[in-house]
Symmetry: C2
Subunit: 284 residues, 2 copies
Amino acid sequence: MTVHTWTAQPSDILRVGDGFLLADVDPGGTPGFEGDKARGKAELAVRVRELDALQERLYAQSRAGEAADSVLLVLQAMDSAGKGGIVRHVVGGVDPQGILLSAFKTPTEQERAHDFLWRIERRLPAPGIIGVFDRSHYEDVLIARVRDLASVAEIERRYDAINEFERKVAEAGTHVIKVMLHISPEEQKSRLMERLERPDKHWKYNPGDVAERIRWPDYMAAYQTVFDRTSTERAPWFVVPADHKWYARLAVQELLLAALQDIDPQWPAADFDVEAEKKRLAAS
Amino acid sequence: MTVHTWTAQPSDILRVGDGFLLADVDPGGTPGFEGDKARGKAELAVRVRELDALQERLYAQSRAGEAADSVLLVLQAMDSAGKGGIVRHVVGGVDPQGILLSAFKTPTEQERAHDFLWRIERRLPAPGIIGVFDRSHYEDVLIARVRDLASVAEIERRYDAINEFERKVAEAGTHVIKVMLHISPEEQKSRLMERLERPDKHWKYNPGDVAERIRWPDYMAAYQTVFDRTSTERAPWFVVPADHKWYARLAVQELLLAALQDIDPQWPAADFDVEAEKKRLAAS
């Protein structure tokens, strides 16, 4: 049973198109969804089974060598915006055998010795798999820009390199979905404060988060440039309002479902003689 | 709420100790569990939340650098015994961020150019993580023995190499749980037949499975030798009756829970001044 409480598809209304302005997005909104938190949670639970079923069929299709489709979900956000919750509650509903999760932290020495896309390329999903990036190559044009970790010329080069890279990835059969979870600074303050107030959350708190938080306007400007430069037809960005965790999870789930429905994977035909195998098995 | 329908702990009664004989194990049994399938499924759903909570605490503890504990679940079985179901229904209940799943297939050319433990070592879980091996280095003393893929002397060497390797892994903080899912040949026939009867399962069927199936007694003998030679104090084997899928899942869940309870991970103390951070955050 599908609840279908959407009045507009997230894949349409959350998409970054021409003239998009991040400043116009309300992080507290729930665009396209008619329903409250309880309804949202109910829908999440129902639809996760569809997601799991579609992924299994995608995997089956790829195993037969009939298609090279895969999905890549890129997650970017300010701290505490809910990337971990997306991974746990949306991605976690899919068979782990169908997921390749990669968390990109501060580059290691080995990674820094290579081009910034080197470590990314090594973690692209194989056919049949949903790849998930918790942070990504976009760190190299976000924190790198805000913190002056690379020259202006180098960062300019990277936007073009990213577009070229993602074009090739998409051409090879990977459906790229890039998501920015958008929270308000007020909501972030409240979430970080909760981490300080609960001893079982202290481990999630990093004093460095406040230093990044102070540069909020710089980060929003860097995101706006990312959207202007890298939201393409084949690898579009989606900005998902994330002050309501339940909405963000549901919206990202819908984006994944839309990608899989677009692929429309089919159970592959047997490449052996089914009746002959039945006899052979029965005799064994 | 915990249901606790166990009369004996799987970590005790399923453990391979001195004098263990695989031939004495009934694949259709449900040892230690008082309850039917419905009760088993209910308990699985309840206990998965405990497993997820314990893993989160294990991860938190490791992040603070306070402990190097991890868990490694090794899954071995004849085809269709239910490894995939364990991954989906037991491991799948844990936050994907806490899991490192590795499926070891026929070795690639690169892998064959190295020692058989090379590809294994690269997939060991980091502190805080539950590693899961779907097949493992044991293929190199199981199919390798049955199919004469290596000399007798080489296979003898491998038992010792495995014990030495696992001893080091355990000393480094990894709690190793090795599981053989034990089905009967009759149950396997029925499961393979189902794959042939359902078009949406054809992709899971491989004509080569029947060829392996015919060598059942050879495989059981190879497993018995594996148990005799490699069930150690620090890296014990457990033989889990698996004709009832619900029982096998529940038993493996209990084995994981027992390992985590044994580690008894604790929330780490903050390595910053909590009150000072609250003021700093409030002012930001």
